[in-house]
C-alpha cells in the first residue's frame, strides 16, 4: 500500500473531523449513539471438511513458518494475535518475524492490543513487512504511529468493536495466531493452566471463529482433550509447539497492588461512597472495575461497605484480581464474569472456582449482537486522560496528542447503568478537565459521573442520580466549578496543542463508525 495519503475529511455528528477513506475502505462517520444500524449478513469463513484434516486429530506441524506457509501466507494479508499474555507475549512477534523470513510484504497486523515489548514490529514496518497496525498502540509503537511513520493508517477499536468489525466483515482475518498456555494436538486451547497461564482466552475467540486459518501456538501440549477448551479445536487448522510462548513474570503480576497515594485513595473512596449513597450498591447489583490503582482501592472500600450493609452482588465483571477473587470467596458476589485476568490469584481462581467464569468480548461487549450485555452492569468505574465540561472523554491520547492507551473495553462499558470516571482533576500541572478533549473516545451523554479528588460531578442529564444523592454528605459539585478551580491552581488554561492536519489513526465507535481522528504530532 502507498504511503498514507491525505484523504477527504468529513465532520461527524460529534463535530470531529474524520477521514472518509481509511486504508482503502470507505468509512461511515459517527452518527450519534444508537443511530447507525447496518443490516445484512455477518461475515463467515470458508467451509472446510474433516477430510482436509488428519483423522487421528494431530494437527501439529514443525514450526510457525511451516504453519504460515501451509495457511498460504501472501502479501497484504491480515494476521491477528491476542494480548492475554500482555507485555510477556512472545508469539505475535515470532509469527510476524516468521512471515518476514518467508518474504511477504504489506501485512496488516491485527492484535487485540499491542505492548511495548513488541516494539520489534517497528523494524518490520520500516522494512515494509507490516503496512499498518489496526489495534491499540502505546509506548514506542504509539510514538511511531503518531509521528506519522506508519505507512497505513492506525485503527483503534474497543474490545467489543473489534468483535463487531470481524463479525460484520469490516476486517477479514486471513490467519489468526493464538498463543495458548495449554493446548492439545487437535487445537483445543485453554488459558487457565500451564506455565504461561494467563486466565481467559476470550480476546482470541472471534479470531478463532471468523479467520480463514487458525494456528494455535503452545508451550504446554497435553493429550486430547484439553479441558476446558476455551478455544475449540474444530476451528483450528494447525498446532505448533514452542519452548516458551511468553515471559510469565510479565504475563500476570504476582499480586496487584492498591495505590498508596492519598489523593487516589480519596477518589476511590468517593466512588464507593457514591455507589452506596446513590442506592446503586444494593442486593443483587453488579459492577465492573479494572486493575488500575484507583479501581483496586475502590473495590476494597466497596467491599467494606457491602459487608457493613449486608449487601451481596449478583456478579462482578473482571479484569479479575485478588480483590475480586476475595469477593467471590467471601460470598459477596455470586459470579465473576472475567474478560481478562490480571494477577495470579485471578488465574488460580479461574482454574479452580466454578463461578469464576471466562468470558469473551462477545458475551459482554459486542454492540452488534442481540442485546447489549454491557448495559446489564449497574455500575462501571473507568479512567480517562481527559474529560471536557460536557462529560466527553478521551482515553487514548495524552493532551499533547501522543497515543498512550488502547481503548480496551472502555467504550463498551459506557453502556452501564452508571458510568463513573475516576480521575485526578490534574496530573502534575496538566488539567484533566479541559475545554475540548484531544481525542474523543466516549460521548458525554454516556458518561454519568466524574469523581475527582476535589469533588464529584454528576452529568446534568442524570437528574435521577442528582436526586438519589440529595441530602448525602458527598461533595457534589458542577464539573465547570471543579474545572475553574483546577485552572486557577495550574495557572490558567494550558496552551493549545501543536498538531498537524494529517490523520495518522482513527478511533472507531462501538458500531464501527468513525468517532475521531488521531493527528500527527512532532
Amino acid at each position: 500500500m502507498a504511503i498514507l495519503e491525505k484523504t477527504e475529511l468529513a465532520i461527524n455528528a460529534a463535530g470531529r473531523m474524520v477521514p472518509e477513506m481509511v486504508n482503502g475502505r470507505q468509512q461511515v462517520p459517527y452518527a450519534g449513539v444508537g443511530k447507525h444500524q447496518p443490516r445484512g449478513d455477518k461475515a463467515a469463513p470458508p467451509i472446510r471438511t474433516a477430510a482436509d484434516y488428519p483423522e487421528g486429530g494431530d494437527k501439529r506441524v514443525a514450526d510457525l513458518e511451516t504453519a504460515l506457509r501451509k495457511c498460504g501466507l501472501r502479501d497484504g494479508m491480515v494476521i491477528s494475535s491476542h494480548h492475554h499474555l500482555r507485555d510477556g507475549d512472545r508469539v505475535a512477534l515470532m509469527a510476524l518475524e516468521a512471515a518476514a523470513r518467508i518474504g511477504v510484504k504489506d501485512l496488516m497486523w491485527f492484535p487485540s492490543a499491542s505492548f511495548p515489548s513488541q516494539k520489534g514490529a517497528i523494524e518490520l514496518m520500516a522494512s515494509g513487512v507490516i503496512d499498518r497496525i489496526e489495534g491499540s498502540m502505546n509506548g514506542p509503537l504509539g510514538d511511531y504511529c503518531t509521528q506519522g511513520k506508519m505507512r497505513g493508517m492506525g485503527v483503534l477499536r474497543s474490545h467489543g468493536g473489534r468483535w463487531q468489525a470481524i463479525q460484520d466483515g469490516e476486517v477479514h482475518i486471513d490467519i489468526a495466531v493464538i498463543a495458548a498456555p495449554t493446548a492439545d494436538a487437535f487445537g483445543n486451547c485453554d488459558g487457565s493452566h500451564g506455565k504461561s497461564a494467563c486466565g481467559s482466552l476470550g480476546f482470541a475467540l472471534a479470531d478463532s471463529i471468523y479467520a480463514d486459518h487458525v494456528i494455535a501456538v503452545t508451550d504446554n501440549l497435553v493429550a486430547f482433550p484439553c479441558i476446558p477448551w476455551q478455544i475449540q479445536g474444530n476451528n483450528v487448522d494447525y498446532v505448533v509447539t514452542v519452548d516458551s510462548i511468553g515471559d510469565p513474570a510479565k504475563i500476570v503480576s504476582g499480586t496487584t497492588q492498591i495505590t498508596r497515594s492519598p489523593d487516589r485513595l480519596r477518589i476511590a473512596q468517593l466512588v464507593a461512597l457514591f455507589l452506596r449513597d446513590a442506592g446503586i450498591m444494593r442486593n443483587g447489583f453488579s459492577f465492573q472495575a479494572g486493575a488500575g490503582g484507583i479501581a483496586l482501592a475502590f473495590v476494597s472500600y466497596l467491599k467494606q461497605m457491602m459487608k457493613e450493609a449486608g449487601v451481596k452482588a449478583r456478579f462482578v465483571r473482571g479484569g479479575s484480581t485478588k480483590y475480586l477473587v476475595e469477593l467471590l470467596e467471601e460470598g459477596l458476589t455470586d459470579y465473576i464474569l472475567d474478560g481478562q485476568t490480571f494477577d495470579l490469584s485471578g488465574v488460580q481462581s479461574m482454574a479452580n472456582h466454578p463461578r469464576h467464569v471466562a468470558t469473551s468480548p462477545f458475551t459482554s461487549y459486542n454492540y452488534h449482537g442481540k442485546g447489549n450485555f454491557a448495559s446489564l452492569v449497574d455500575a462501571v468505574v473507568l479512567g480517562a486522560t481527559e474529560v471536557d465540561a460536557n462529560f466527553n472523554a478521551n482515553v487514548v491520547t495524552h493532551s499533547d496528542g501522543r497515543l498512550l492507551h488502547g481503548i480496551g473495553g472502555w467504550q463498551n462499558c459506557l453502556a452501564a447503568g452508571c458510568t463513573i470516571l475516576a480521575v485526578p482533576s490534574f496530573r502534575d500541572r496538566i488539567p484533566v478537565i479541559v475545554d475540548q478533549v484531544t481525542t474523543l473516545c466516549g460521548p458525554g451523554e454516556l458518561i454519568d459521573v466524574v469523581v475527582t479528588e476535589r469533588g464529584i460531578a454528576i452529568n446534568p442529564c442524570r437528574q435521577d442520580l442528582m436526586n438519589a444523592v440529595k441530602g448525602s454528605k458527598l461533595p457534589i459539585r458542577p464539573l465547570q466549578e471543579i474545572k475553574a478551580e483546577v485552572e486557577r491552581i495550574c495557572g490558567g488554561k494550558p496552551q493549545p496543542a501543536n498538531r498537524s492536519d494529517r490523520a495518522v489513526a482513527i478511533v472507531k465507535w462501538v458500531d464501527g463508525t468513525v468517532l475521531d481522528s488521531v493527528w500527527q504530532v512532532g
Binding site: S399, I489, C490, Q495
Partner: protein, 408 residues
C-alpha cells in the same frame, strides 16, 4: 514591591529538585552575568502546555528581584506556579539578589480566623520541602495541616523551605483545615517567623521548648511582625515539649503567653533525652504524657499527643489513639492522610458514652426547668461535675457530627 539593593557579591545560585523520581517541584539555577539580559533555558514535562507561562513568570519574578542579566536554567517537573516562584526566589537569594524583596503569588481568600478552643483531633504533617504534598493536603479531612520547617527539612534547605511554605500559605486553599506552621528551634525559628507571620498562619508550633522565656521571645517577635503588617487576627501558639526539663516546666510554659491554646509532646526527642527506647506501648513516656495533660488542663489549654510513626499499623494507631483519649489528650499528629480517619474514630465518644451523656443532660435540663437544685436520673443523684462532663461530651459529639440535631 521594593527592589533590593544589589550590595552582595553575586554568584551562581540554585534551588529546588528535579529528576525522574521528583514530581511537582522544579530545580532553578541562576548564573549572574554582567550584560546580555535574561536568558532562560527551560526543560519541562509540561512545556507543551505551560512553557510560555513559565517563561513569563520567570521574567516577572527575576525583574521583581532585581536580576537584570543572568542565565537561568530551569528543570521543571510539573511544579505549580507558587512553587516555581519560590524556587526562583530561593535561587536568586542564594545568588545574592533580592535580600529585601518578597515576590508573592496571588493570594486565595483567607479562611475565617481560627478559634481558641476549636477541635484539634488531627494535624497532618506536610514536609516544608516537599511541595507535591501541599496542594491536596486540605482534602483529607484533617482538623489541621502543619507545614513543617523543622525536622523534615534538611539544614541546608531551611531558607528555601521557608519561601515554599510562605507561598503555600498564600496560594493554597487548605479548606476547613487550621493552617499551622512548625518553625525551627529558636533562634533559627525567629527567622522563619519573618517570612511566615505576614501570611497569617492560624497557629505556630514552637519545638523543643524548655522555658517560659523562650515562649515570650517568640511571642514578642510575632507581635512585632503582626504590628508591622497590620495583622489583627489571632495567631495561636502550640509549644512542643520534647525533653525532661520541658516536662518539668510544662505548666509554666503553658501559661507563658495568652496566645497558647494547646501543649503537645515530641516523644522521639523525649525518649532520646531519657536514653530509653520508645516502645509501641509507651510505658517509658507515660509519666511525661500524664504530667503534660495535667499541666495543660491546669493552664486551661488543650493537651495534644505526639504522632504514631508506623503508617502501616492501623491497629496499633487505633490502640494508641484510644489510650491517648483515655489519658485526657484531645488529639494527635498524623504522618499520613490514612491515619486521619482512624484518629478521628479513636478520639470520638462511643455511642454508649453519648447515650449516657444525653440522658444526664436531659435530666439536667428537666431539673433546671422545674427549678430543682438536684439533678437525678432514675434513682441516682447526679453530681455537678458529672453534668459538666456530659455537657462537654455532647458538645464535642455534636462538633464531630456524631449527634445530628441540637441536644439542647
Amino acid at each position: 514591591m521594593s527592589v533590593g539593593l544589589e550590595t552582595r557579591a553575586k554568584q551562581t545560585g540554585e534551588a529546588g529538585h528535579c529528576g525522574a523520581e521528583i514530581r511537582s517541584d522544579a530545580h532553578v539555577r541562576i548564573e549572574p552575568r554582567e550584560h546580555g539580559g535574561i536568558k532562560i533555558e527551560l526543560e519541562s514535562r509540561v512545556k507543551p502546555y505551560y512553557g510560555d507561562a513559565i517563561h513569563r513568570q520567570t521574567e516577572e519574578v527575576l525583574e521583581a528581584l532585581g536580576v537584570r542579566h543572568a542565565l537561568v536554567v530551569i528543570h521543571d517537573e510539573g511544579a505549580l506556579p507558587f512553587v516555581i516562584a519560590a524556587r526562583i526566589e530561593a535561587a536568586a537569594r542564594r545568588a545574592g539578589f533580592g535580600a529585601d524583596t518578597r515576590v508573592l503569588p496571588d493570594r486565595v481568600s483567607l479562611p475565617e480566623p481560627s478559634s481558641r478552643d476549636r477541635m484539634r483531633r488531627s494535624r497532618l504533617y506536610v514536609p516544608g520541602s516537599e511541595p507535591r504534598y501541599f496542594i491536596n493536603a486540605g482534602l483529607h479531612g484533617a482538623d489541621a495541616i502543619i507545614l513543617d520547617l523543622e525536622d523534615s527539612v534538611h539544614p541546608n534547605e531551611k531558607d528555601a523551605a521557608r519561601l515554599l511554605v510562605r507561598n503555600a500559605l498564600r496560594a493554597v486553599d487548605f479548606l476547613q483545615c487550621e493552617r499551622m506552621v512548625r518553625i525551627n528551634q529558636l533562634p533559627l525559628g525567629l527567622e522563619d517567623l519573618e517570612e511566615i507571620v505576614p501570611e497569617s498562619p492560624d497557629l505556630i508550633l514552637i519545638p523543643k521548648l524548655e522555658t517560659p522565656q523562650q515562649v515570650i521571645v517568640a511571642s514578642q517577635k510575632i507581635a512585632e511582625i503582626k504590628a508591622d503588617y497590620g495583622i489583627t487576627r489571632p495567631i495561636w501558639l502550640m509549644p512542643i515539649i520534647e525533653s525532661a526539663l520541658g516536662i518539668e516546666k510544662a505548666y509554666e510554659i503553658a501559661t507563658a503567653s495568652e496566645d497558647i491554646v494547646a501543649l503537645t509532646i515530641g516523644l522521639e526527642d523525649y525518649t532520646a533525652d531519657l536514653g530509653v527506647v520508645k516502645t509501641p506501648a509507651g510505658a517509658e513516656s507515660l509519666f511525661a504524657r500524664q504530667r503534660m495533660v495535667n499541666a495543660a488542663h491546669a493552664a486551661g489549654v488543650q493537651a495534644i499527643d505526639s504522632v504514631y510513626g508506623d503508617v502501616g499499623d492501623m491497629d496499633g494507631l487505633r490502640a494508641w489513639g484510644l489510650n491517648s483519649r483515655a489519658l485526657g489528650f484531645e488529639g494527635m499528629g498524623c504522618v499520613h492522610p490514612l491515619q486521619i480517619a482512624v484518629i478521628h474514630q479513636a478520639f470520638a465518644p462511643t455511642p454508649a458514652e453519648i447515650e449516657k451523656a444525653r440522658k444526664i443532660v436531659a435530666a439536667y435540663h428537666e431539673a433546671q426547668q422545674k427549678g430543682l437544685g438536684v439533678v437525678s436520673l432514675g434513682s441516682k443523684m447526679i453530681d455537678a461535675p458529672v453534668v459538666q462532663r456530659a455537657l462537654k461530651l455532647m458538645a464535642r459529639a455534636q462538633a464531630m457530627g456524631l449527634v445530628t440535631r441540637s441536644f439542647e
